[in-house]
Symmetry: none
Subunit: 533 residues, 2 copies
């Protein structure tokens, strides 16, 4: 049996931007697009050109290599032509491959919110779609309030869909705008629609905790296009979570045997990483409970479950954790811990025997430090330094005798408020004692500049070292809590590495991560000469 | 039409205790039981007496007033009588009203994990149930692996259910143990079972994000007993979330019109408080996105949505937020329009006319500041201060002339590395110039302590001000980027508020958020006297 193709449409950058507390910068949008291309979705909806500066700038270039680059916006206003509607023109002028026009499919709302007749609404819809098609765009339509509209007036909702398809829309996407529709209603309504189901899509929200179920119910009823977001972000309770829907479509009976999505097993294996990277970008802790990708998704606590798992994994694992790039986590045993360490060390070119006693010491160090707030999952370079230090394989490149940093806010000679930030570091490189001072636009920037100002004989080697990102997480509440700082660095070779620092003092935690970043860079360069391979 | 009764069974204290990172003390169990009684569930499963000290102690007394107090445990082992099985005896001897026995309904697992024949399993099940009934308990059975078992051998799974019902079990609960079953499968399998559906229950897990949908599908197929947990805690991805299921059953068409649950409108109104209190007890931040009870569940950010909401709430609210004791929250953001501003201002007691020109000025200020990195959707208190300042309604309580903070890492007299952090602030309160100094475990902590040390005539008013949380977000990459700091504060009245600061300098951004937190606190206290209502 040939499988039918389902198309995945990601709206993280558009509907996901409605999430309370989330605001994407242009750089964020570019990073998220790269993640979505890694994942392999078919459409990336990047925002609403013309609505704000970031989105307009984002659509001034073509931003995707593979996915259909999609702009969102409204159909033309009644009473003016498409040519005279600057909103529609901004969409047609953008560098998007496709445009997704939203319009209301609920006649009452058309009258109440737009103040036009239901017929004028359909005419504006058709005219806008035709203009989009003529401009060379693939056109999609978000049928807003479709399900509530259908319940109130099935005839109008159905003619909305028919009008859009006849006008040339490739997809009409049925939206459960307020998120209140039940799966059985979705299934009944979709089945009853007298149109070509292979041109319908679903857009579900999680207001009753059923966005995933509503999406899958619509697919069973015939739609072939799915809208959702990374980690289910979105307005109110969020949109349908693609991180849950994709593995279900790819792996579960009833879907995997009937449908094909553009995401093969290798890409699916990457989904846990993509989910967690996205949370990192949002600077929030990933949900442990998240289906498939959460750190607890394949965790078991009960001893009896653990032993049953050993006999037959399917008892408590509905899919193999490896299939989604996640891993089983059974109560941490000394043995399980060691095999993890061995694998990680090997990845960094350090081969140890399974019974090497230094492995126990390293495991103890890792556990002690993780108990204090360190996290080596995201800080490979710091793990390498800790491992090499424990194993006696880390040369001492330079040492910091002391440092001092100060921030002062005061008035300058012209009476303006200014903040002056300064850092002083004293380091030892071999027999040389070097002291440097620098100003920065913050204490950590000043420390970074002072540290790198003079590294003696190593100065040349860090010329291409660049700090890419800097993340701060407060591990408990309050300003007196422990702070974890994660620094991302990169050099001329294109390699990126991550280091971590932990302290109640944010400056000290940052300094530790900066120091380790420089040390790792020197290790990369010096290691061939100093350490037997 | 008379409605059918559905029975709610809470397993927070038993299956919920399998959650990674959650461990209930005896006191916790007593507190959670009180919460569950407030909510009004029919059954409270308190744990597994005999399995550990806490659970045995918990079941040494009757702990519920209204709900059926239920103990969990295994059916007797094959090869010994019920009287000789200490596990079963501990259950029968406990002060529970009911016992829920778990046994495997998948013949392969019976053979593989227990090493007995499928027939021996059924005989042990029947004998255990009879002993429970004879001991005066209401008996429930958790049919473990029921759905996987049914798919593998429908005859055996069905005879498991029949055996349990014939032996006298009040309820047989169909368990989707590994959480991998789809709603359509649940519905088909439940319907096909040739037994009295009014004695069946459902126990679902969230491994495909469909625990709620699976539960509701089972109800539609005939089961009349529902197991779940507070906030969906539980092993792996969690159990079915009663905080989502209860409002759906009570409010949504297709359920509310057909079924009755033992929770009236007044108790339903308490569900948001109960959900958040439970998270407080677990010492974790409540999920903002949670259906019905999350702080974002009725939040809207887009300006067009806000104006539509004002005309007709059903457009973006599928149920009234008050019905579950939650509230609508309209956020101020880049996407906001004037209607968001008006609604937010009104909530803070400031009524302006729609055409007040100061509204345009305020909107411009908000957008300018958001473009610089501020985010007001998570910082209501800072928004109030900005609005009052723009409208000329903010008294100047105190002003900061200058501040200075320093961090020094050096060796102490004993040769140990130490970090010393100090802050000095100079503030003006009326005509008084006050200077304070403090040490802290980080520069922001030191600044906070120094700022609050002496506020002159306002010192008494901030005695109960407490910083609860502190979040740092770097808005672009690198240590030279803009930093946004969000501070959460609370006072003796229990009110919490959020302030935001933005600067390339993390110290300056933190200082701004701290300053605004104190100003907001003073505004709360002083406003009645200083600002015309």
């Amino acid at each position: 049996m040939t499988k039918e193709r389902l198309y995945l449409f990601d709206t993280t950058l558009r509907d996901g931007a409605q999430t309370a507390g989330i605001e994407f910068s242009l750089e964020d949008k570019i990073s998220v697009t790269a993640l979505l291309e890694d994942l392999g979705v078919d459409y990336i909806e990047g925002g609403y050109p013309g609505a704000n500066v970031v989105d307009t700038e984002f659509f001034s270039q073509k931003r995707t290599r593979r996915a259909t680059f999609t702009a969102f916006g409204m159909t033309k206003r009644a009473g003016r032509s498409v040519g005279n509607d600057p909103g529609v023109q901004a969409l047609l002028d953008s560098r998007a491959d496709a445009t997704c026009f939203v319009a209301k499919a609920w006649d009452q709302q058309v009258v109440l919110a737009l103040g036009i007749t239901p017929e004028e609404n359909l005419a504006a819809l058709a005219e806008t779609i035709k203009a989009g098609v003529e401009a060379g765009k693939e056109v999609l339509v978000d049928a807003e309030h479709f399900f509530d509209g259908y319940k109130s007036n099935p005839g109008y909702a159905a003619s909305f869909v028919e009008t859009a398809l006849q006008a040339g829309a490739r997809w009409v996407v049925l939206c459960d705008t307020n998120g209140g529709t039940m799966p059985f209603e979705i299934e009944d309504i979709v089945r009853a629609l007298p149109v070509d189901h292979a041109r319908l899509g679903i857009h579900a929200h999680d207001d009753t905790g059923q966005a995933v179920a509503n999406t899958l119910a619509a697919v069973r009823a015939g739609v072939r296009h799915i809208q959702g977001t990374l980690n289910g972000i979105g307005e109110r309770c969020g949109n349908a979570n693609l991180m849950t829907i994709i593995p279900t479509l790819a792996l579960k009976p009833g879907f995997a045997d009937r449908f094909e999505i553009g995401i093969d097993a290798a890409r699916l294996h990457d989904i846990t990483r993509i989910s967690r990277t996205f949370d990192e970008l949002l600077n929030r802790a990933p949900s442990r409970q998240a289906p498939y990708v959460g750190s607890s998704a394949f965790a078991t606590k009960a001893g009896i479950h653990a032993s049953a798992l050993a006999k037959d994994p399917s008892t408590y694992e509905h899919v193999p954790p490896e299939s989604v790039g996640n891993e089983r986590s059974v109560m941490v045993s000394q043995q399980a811990g060691k095999s993890n360490l061995l694998i990680t060390l090997k990845r960094h070119g350090i081969e140890l025997a399974k019974d090497d006693p230094r492995l126990d010491t390293l495991l103890r160090h890792v556990k002690e430090r993780e108990a204090r707030g360190y996290s080596y999952d995201g800080a490979d370079a710091s793990f390498v330094l800790l491992a090499r230090k424990t194993l006696g394989m880390l040369p001492e490149f330079f040492d910091v005798e002391n440092y001092r940093t100060s921030v002062e806010r005061r008035h300058n000679a012209r009476g303006e408020q200014i903040a002056v930030t300064e850092a002083v570091v004293k380091i030892r490189v071999g027999d040389d004692l070097l002291m440097s001072v620098a100003e920065g636009n913050g204490p950590i920037n000043a420390l970074d500049l002072a540290l790198r100002k003079d590294l003696g004989k190593y100065s040349d080697q860090i010329g291409d070292l660049e700090l890419v990102d800097f993340k701060v997480r407060i591990l408990d509440g309050g300003t007196g809590a422990v702070t974890r700082v994660l620094v991302e660095s990169r050099d001329g070779t294109g390699e990126r590495w991550y280091t971590v620092g932990v302290s109640p003092n944010i400056i000290d935690a940052s300094f530790e991560a900066l120091y380790e970043s420089i040390t790792y860079k020197l290790l990369k360069t010096e290691a061939p000469a100093q350490i037997p391979a």
